[in-house]
Amino acid sequence: MTGGDRVFYARGMCVRRRPIQEPVELLVDGERVAADRGEPVAAALLAAGRSLFGRSVKYHRPRGPLCLEGRCDGCLMRVDGVPNVMSCRVGAEDGMRVETQNVLGSARVDLLAVTDWFFPEGMDHHHMFTRFGPINRLMQKVARRIAGVGRLPDAAASAVAPRELDVDVLVVGGGRSGIVAANAAAREGASVLLVEEQQTFGGEAGLLGESVPVLGPPVDARRGVGAVAVYQEPAVGFAGREPTDEAVRWVLLEDAEGLLRVRCGSLVVATGTDPVPPPIAGADRPGVFSARAALRALQWGIAVGGRVALVGWGAALDRAATVLGPEQVLGPFAPTQVSAVEGRPRVEAIVVDGRRLPCDALVFDGVRSAAYAVAAQAGGEVAWDGRGFVVLADDDGRTHAPGTFALGRVTGRLFDRARAEAVGRCAAKGAGLAPSPPLVRPPPRSAPAPLPAQASDKIVVCRCEDVTLHDLEEAVQSGYRDIESVKRYTGFGTGWCQGKQCVALCGQMIASAGGDDAERPFTARPPVRPLALARLAKLVDEPEPR
């Protein structure tokens, strides 16, 4: 099978809008699937009509990609013998082996999906089967057998030593504000490294088709490089580093080859936001995409659906509507109007004000969660600003952590070009600047939003761990009212994305269910995204005790 005769095709409902340039073949669960060399594997699968990528952890509900930005768990697959690979982050190569995980049978007919049906109200895993010892032991045996997502990797990975780098200013996030700040810092004579996690610069503005500032030449700008953790500690036994007595800030970056251990004078965080899926019954199924995901897919030449329901608001949603084309879209509808998302398994209809509207995809936007993890790990303070958790920063971008700056959407505030340049200049002037108090405090939280009514299907509020709205309410009713306790009691925020998609929503829902107003999110624990052990194994080179 070559690309030639099947350049434009629509199966499932995703549509390839660009012919395949360099045809290759993937082996997906043993079946051949056409792809364009180097395009994200997830894109190839969507274009081939496969939107069901796997099954969820607990209820084995059908799952598919949601963010296409490496932040959700929807696209995890086993690729060439490695489990839990984000298939939106790997380029297609000829003969690549791609496998569905966590199914008993096939992704389509997963026998374990009975758990979803068997526990329509959700499973109270704390208290179930605790009456009789033998039954409890049997349940635990079964639970262990079906736990986990991927199987152990087929083979060992060789350890990669980190690369070491020292710069004056490290800018994390290559959207508009990050670029402007980086350029301004470079103009002051500082050595500047700018990293962007995605494969394109420009962030939100780039996706919206707005103008993106040009990167000035002295800036070392790298795409496909993410900041994965920030630490404050002395260098003791660090391979390739002089030992230090004093604590130093280390920023760990990751690119396709491995890790970079960076020491920087100033850290500038311009990481933007993450879209938050709306709390609608059944909205965790395949075929639900963020507006940004829809726009990324379009950049890859793929329309996420043939008839797309829009839910929510915002510039990215409007842009998605325009680019998909008016005859392809329905809505936009307010999330509160939508009572259910139906389909078997992929989206087939949404129920709006009681009416069933057929569609084959749902694209949402609206509530955003600041991508605060990097700033928080650096010591910046994060607080609720009425809509979500944001990093507190003053007009010059200074946060509570000396030498750490934040600007752009991650702060929940507006930084125009002049302000963004000022942040860059400030960062270039150096570390050690104490924050200039008082930092702008977010306004107090408004009255909690009403809870959506329970529907016939589960309202999943944390996709990675299959936590439902009902679970949050139960935790609050047991007296676990604060966000740290509810996180532990329900497990929300402890999954693959470590809360990127769910913390803002759950923070709000806890308050709505009668729990505490969370002033700050739960602790942002490193790493920011999952990090392979082989890449960490050469960070330290002192002799190992025997």
């Binding site: 952890v57 490695v82 489990p83 704390h126 208290h127 179930m128 089967f129 605790t130 009456r131 009789f132 010892g133 409890n136 635990q140 639970a143 262990r144 057998r145 736990a147 986990g148 997502v149 991927g150 199987r151 152990l152 990797p153 083979a155 060992a156 990975a157 350890a159 630490y231 500690e233 003791v236 036994g237 660090f238 760990l252 251990r261 009713q477 047991s478 007296g479 676990y480 604060d482 740290e484 306790s485 532990r488 693959w496 470590q498 624990r525 490193p526 790493p527 999952p530 990090l531 392979a532 052990l533 082989a534 890449r535 960490l536 194994a537 960070l539 330290v540 190992e544 005790p545 025997r546």
Partner: protein, 391 residues
């Protein structure tokens, strides 16, 4: 009232006992005191439940120890853990996968052999196993450097959080008041005995205070002028992405202090010693830890190289000069009782220690143990010895 934890504004004015710290130790003590008939028990914690070491540990429970007393106590603790789910009506995911202790030098091997002998003398099924048998137990293990290992298939791992919730819920059923976000800020005495405790929400009059504040216990003791020699030391730990079950035992290696096990969710949970950690109440994560852990773990199980760390965190060990706990009354201050100094193994000690403390206070049982582990040994110089401590 149906909630498990109480609102600080409902703090009572009087109590028969105030337990400081709602970690597993404090809750186990409160539960057992209430079970033995003590009427008004109040538990205070300055933070949320599971905020201390009890919510941050590896969940290992084992009876492989090198001292007679620890072997004897842990055996009893394991029995309580095994019944916990049905007795307390909450799943704690107790799993007897065994503990496999690896030795990579002849000194360590000799140390293991001595412990195994002692454990067998106490009726444990522990045995020494060679490299080939290690591979049968954990096929993914690289065994070239392993001299010998000790293996007790009866040792276990649990999920720590529900133990805390389970004790808390059972406490509530017995009428115990559990007050998170209620810090103890003062202890009042009449010069000879304890009379009350102070919190930001008011005072509670009480004749008996149990200091179960773990790594914070020296701070609590200092509020009433008592010096304790235990010190907090950060201990780090991490969890990987969830994998389908493949690993049966908790594997530990004494020289590096590496340990790892697979949780019921499928994550590999583990840690390693880090000699460079200064004393102090520090719960931050470090890059050095990740480096040490990843190197040791992938060295031992090369197939884990592609496996990813999902989350790392830290808690405090509560380190005593001789590795043994500090429990019982304090000479010269009636009504001030200590239940602390449990190093890095207080989780598995708590089920039995809570029981023993209650019976000791109410009926004078196990007086010899409480004399041996009393604070006064640091003044008299009768220190004790335990060598199978991890981390």
């Amino acid at each position: 009232m149906s909630t498990v934890v109480c609102d600080p504004r409902d703090l009572p004015e009087d109590a028969d006992v105030v337990v400081v710290g709602a970690g597993i130790m404090g809750l186990s003590a409160a539960y057992n005191l209430a079970l033995e008939g003590v009427g008004r028990v109040v538990v205070l914690d300055k933070g949320y439940l599971c905020g201390g070491a009890s919510g941050r540990n590896g969940g290992g429970v084992r009876s492989q120890w090198s001292s007679e007393i620890n072997i004897r106590l842990m055996k009893r603790s394991l029995a309580i853990c095994a019944e916990f789910a049905t007795r307390m009506r909450i799943n704690v995911w107790f799993r007897r996968g065994g503990y496999l202790f690896l030795a990579r030098s002849s000194e360590r091997a000799a140390q293991l052999a001595r412990s195994v002998e002692l454990q067998r003398a106490h009726g444990l099924p522990t045995r020494l196993v060679d490299a080939a048998e290690c591979r049968r137990i954990v096929p993914e293990l690289a065994t070239d450097a392993i001299v010998v290992a000790s293996y007790n298939p009866q040792d276990a791992v649990v999920f720590p959080w529900p133990f805390v919730w389970g004790y808390a819920a059972a406490c509530r059923r017995l009428g115990v008041g559990i007050f998170p976000f209620t810090e103890l800020i003062g202890i009042e005495t009449d010069g000879r005995r304890v009379t009350a405790v102070a919190t930001p929400f008011g005072k509670v009059r009480t004749p008996l205070v149990v200091n179960a504040a773990g790594a914070w216990s020296p701070e609590v003791a200092r509020l009433v002028g008592v010096e304790m020699p235990n010190r907090p030391h950060r201990h780090e730990i991490c969890a990987t992405e969830p994998l389908k079950p493949f690993l049966k035992p908790l594997v530990a290696e004494l020289a590096t202090g590496l340990y790892f096990s697979q949780s019921m969710r499928g994550e590999l949970v583990g840690g390693i010693s880090n000699e460079q950690v200064p004393e102090g109440l520090d719960q931050r994560s470090s890059l050095r830890f990740l480096g040490l852990y990843a190197r040791a773990l992938t060295g031992l199980v090369p197939r884990l190289g592609h496996v990813r760390v999902l989350r790392q965190w830290a808690g405090c060990y509560d380190i005593t000069p001789d590795g043994s706990p500090i429990v019982g009354e304090v000479d010269g201050l009636e009504g001030f009782v200590l239940l602390a100094g449990f190093m890095g193994h207080g989780f598995m000690m708590a089920p039995i220690m809570g029981q023993l403390l209650a019976r000791y206070l109410l009926a004078g049982e196990e007086a010899e143990l409480f004399a041996r582990w009393n604070l006064r040994r640091f003044a008299t110089g009768e220190l004790l010895q335990e060598t199978m401590i991890l981390g």
